[in-house]
């Protein structure tokens, strides 16, 4: 029972990870890409948290009533990771605003076309 639950957690993790990555790959809209990126990062939070959670355990507060504690470390780590994720998202969105100002679009293919136009033969890749 417990085993299948933990596997379930992993499956969710993988599903979130893959769908996030897929959005990054498949979407041309810069904001949607960032959303995909956030979803992708969320999967990591799950990856760390899920094994830290023990059934029937409680938060690691020393108390005579409990013998089983969850591992606090992953939670701490993920707090940091969430901060990093928020910062990344904020920066990404700020960049998109600037891109919109500069190019008048947030669709990557239109931007690429504009770039290539401006650059002429210079851009090869």
């Amino acid at each position: 029972m417990q085993g299948s639950f933990s596997h379930f957690g992993y499956l969710i993790t993988i599903l979130v990870m893959v769908s996030g990555l897929y959005i990054v790959m498949a979407q041309g809209n810069l904001i949607k890409k960032l959303i995909g990126l956030s979803i992708f990062q969320t999967s990591v939070y799950l990856l760390f948290i899920v094994p830290g959670k023990l059934l029937g355990a409680t938060a690691p507060i020393l108390s005579p009533h409990h013998a089983l504690y969850s591992n606090p470390l992953p939670h701490v780590l993920i707090l940091t990771a969430i901060v990093v994720g928020v910062a990344t998202l904020a920066l990404g969105l700020a960049l998109v605003v600037r891109v919109r100002e500069a190019y008048g679009s947030i669709e990557e293919d239109e931007i690429t076309a504009l770039e290539n136009q401006a650059a002429g033969p210079e851009i090869h890749a």
């Binding site: 990555l21 897929y22 990054v24 790959m25 498949a26 979407q27 041309g28 890409k33 990557e108 293919d109 690429t112």
Partner: protein, 565 residues
């Protein structure tokens, strides 16, 4: 290092340092420095005793950048001597780059001869390539520029071979020392190949007549002296008695003769004859007896002198007339008597006429072939001697200074050039009459007398009758304004043509690939999304989307390989 020689600078580094400072000088100070530098370096060389004098550690290897023995002293001396005389000759050269470049080049060549470990040899070797390329550039013509690109390409390739060989040799034997090597490992073959590229051996011999004649009127004098003779030196030290070298040398000899016979450009004739003469030395090294090695070393010594003399006379003609083609020259003896005289002396010396320096050195090689009972080799060498007289000994002076009158009446060159030529002409004759000082410098004791009646008479017969053949066949030797294709055709025409074809192909292929990838992307997108977006989302986000796709692909590849592997 406590004795006097501890205070004596490394001759090569002295010359190189001087070369780097030369551009700062002007006027008389510059002229004095140009003449004094090689003299100082020569003095330093002769103040040094025999033996290993410098030991340093680099990259954890013991290096000996300064070690003197008879062989290295001989080559270093002639290099420095020629650097000085060449500097005198080039004193009036307008290009301010040329002499510093030439001294860098000469210094590096001296460095090779004084280095007793492979790494130092390699370092100086590359330095030499840079110096010689700069000499070539300083001619400043578009032709020199394009030739220098091909030149540097060949030498970098040669340097790479040598680099790989040196690395392999050190790793294989654990020894950095530069000793006699046997061809028993890939590394030693690579080293030999690297050396031979600089010697002008086939199939890369074409770089020499391609590049050297494009140098300035004085630049070619420097170029002729160092690169090929350094190669002879390292072959002497590293591969004496390697039989393969006999055949390579013979090929070079006849290649030089035949191509020179077909050539119209006087400086290209002389360039081919460098290959030809180096062929004699390489053959001598291949024979490998003491006398043969002496012969190769002595021939390198004398050859540097007379080839420089020939090139100076050709350079004087070029500087005065601006012409290089035999078909446009002729009758110059009217107004350039000194140049003509010096050209003839050089031509006689290269043909090994008795009483010239070529006679006393080339005889050593053919005598060694005879002593080793190599009849075929000996016969070919004899034929080659005749051939040298044919293509360089008569052809060069005849077509440039005599034959039909071209109507040109340029004056003899200015004093510094004349003195340089006369000095070399004197040395060519002096060593021919009195070879003992040269013989005393050779690596092994010499018990050979060149002036026996038999030898003089047979040599005269050989040369005079080849002269007869020349005049008899003169009609067939008329100069036409042509060049002869050589291996360099491969990289000058075939290579670019192939590259052009390849470029067109690549362009087409890229378009195809792009189309193909587009299609693939479409299909992949459609496959992932089932029936969504017929124009393929993966494509639309080609930039950052494709990057992430790549990330995924690489991750998948890693995972797959890990789990399968």
């Amino acid at each position: 290092m406590t004795s006097l020689h501890g205070l004596v600078p490394h001759p090569a580094l002295l010359l190189i340092a001087g070369a780097l400072l030369l551009p700062l000088l002007r006027g008389r100070a510059r002229s004095v420095a140009i003449l004094a530098l090689p003299a100082l370096a020569l003095a330093a060389l002769w103040l040094l005793p025999d033996g290993v004098l410098w030991r340093v550690h680099w990259l954890g290897y013991p290096l000996t950048p300064l070690a003197v023995d008879r062989l290295s002293r001989l080559f270093a001396s002639i290099f420095l001597l020629l650097a000085g005389i060449g500097g005198l000759f080039a004193l009036r050269q307008e290009s301010r780059l040329e002499i510093p470049a030439a001294y860098l080049y000469a210094g590096a060549a001296v460095g090779v001869t004084l280095a007793a470990d492979l790494i130092s040899v390699f370092l100086f070797w590359e330095c030499m390539a840079i110096g010689s390329t700069l000499v070539l550039w300083s001619a400043g013509t578009p032709a020199a520029w394009t030739a220098s690109r091909r030149y540097v390409g060949v030498h970098l390739a040669g340097g790479m071979l040598l680099f790989a060989g040196v690395a392999g040799q050190i790793l294989g034997t654990g020894d950095t020392g530069f000793h006699v090597m046997r061809l028993d490992s890939p590394a030693s073959w690579l080293i030999l190949a690297g050396f031979l590229v600089n010697a002008g051996a086939p199939p890369l011999s074409a770089w020499l007549p391609d590049a050297y004649p494009e140098a300035s009127w004085s630049g070619m004098v420097f170029l002729s002296a160092f690169t090929t003779k350094t190669a002879v030196y390292v072959l002497l030290r590293g591969f004496p008695g390697t039989e393969l070298l006999i055949w390579i040398g013979l090929f070079m000899i006849f290649y030089g003769i035949v191509y020179a016979l077909l050539e119209n450009d006087m400086r290209r004739i002389l360039a081919y004859s460098i290959v030809n003469q180096v062929g004699f030395m390489v053959t001598g090294i291949g024979i490998g007896s003491e006398m043969a090695l002496n012969g190769a070393a002595a021939h390198a010594f004398t050859h540097i002198l007379y080839k420089a003399l020939l090139l100076m006379s050709a350079g004087a003609v070029l500087a005065a007339t601006g012409r290089r083609k035999c078909s446009e020259l002729g009758g110059l003896f009217h107004s350039m008597p000194v140049t003509t005289l010096c050209g003839i002396i050089g031509a006689l010396a290269i043909s090994a006429f008795p009483l010239t320096s070529g006679f006393v050195s080339k005889s050593l090689v053919s005598q060694a072939a005879a002593d080793a009972q190599l009849q075929g080799v000996w016969l070919l060498l004899a034929a080659a001697s005749a051939g040298v007289f044919l293509h360089a000994g008569i052809k060069f002076p005849w077509f440039v200074f005599f034959q039909k009158d071209s109507g040109l009446r340029p004056a003899d060159p200015p004093a510094s050039l004349r003195w340089a030529m006369l000095l070399l002409a004197f040395l060519c004759i002096a060593l021919g009459i009195w070879p003992d000082p040269l013989y005393a410098l050779l690596p092994y004791p010499v018990a050979y007398v060149p002036y026996t009646a038999a030898h003089v008479v047979t040599q005269l017969q050989l040369l005079l009758f080849s002269g007869l053949a020349f005049f008899v066949m003169l009609d067939h030797l008329r100069r036409t304004p042509t060049i002869t294709l050589d291996f360099d055709w491969l990289w000058r025409v075939a290579g670019p043509a192939l590259a052009g074809v390849a470029r067109a192909r690549v362009r087409a292929a890229r378009a195809r690939l792009a189309r193909g990838l587009t299609g693939l992307g479409r299909r992949a997108g459609a496959w992932i999304l089932r029936n969504r977006a017929p124009d393929g989302l993966l494509l639309r986000s080609w930039s950052s989307g494709s990057m992430s796709l790549w990330v995924m692909l690489v991750l998948m590849a890693y995972l797959a390989l890990y789990y399968l592997g």
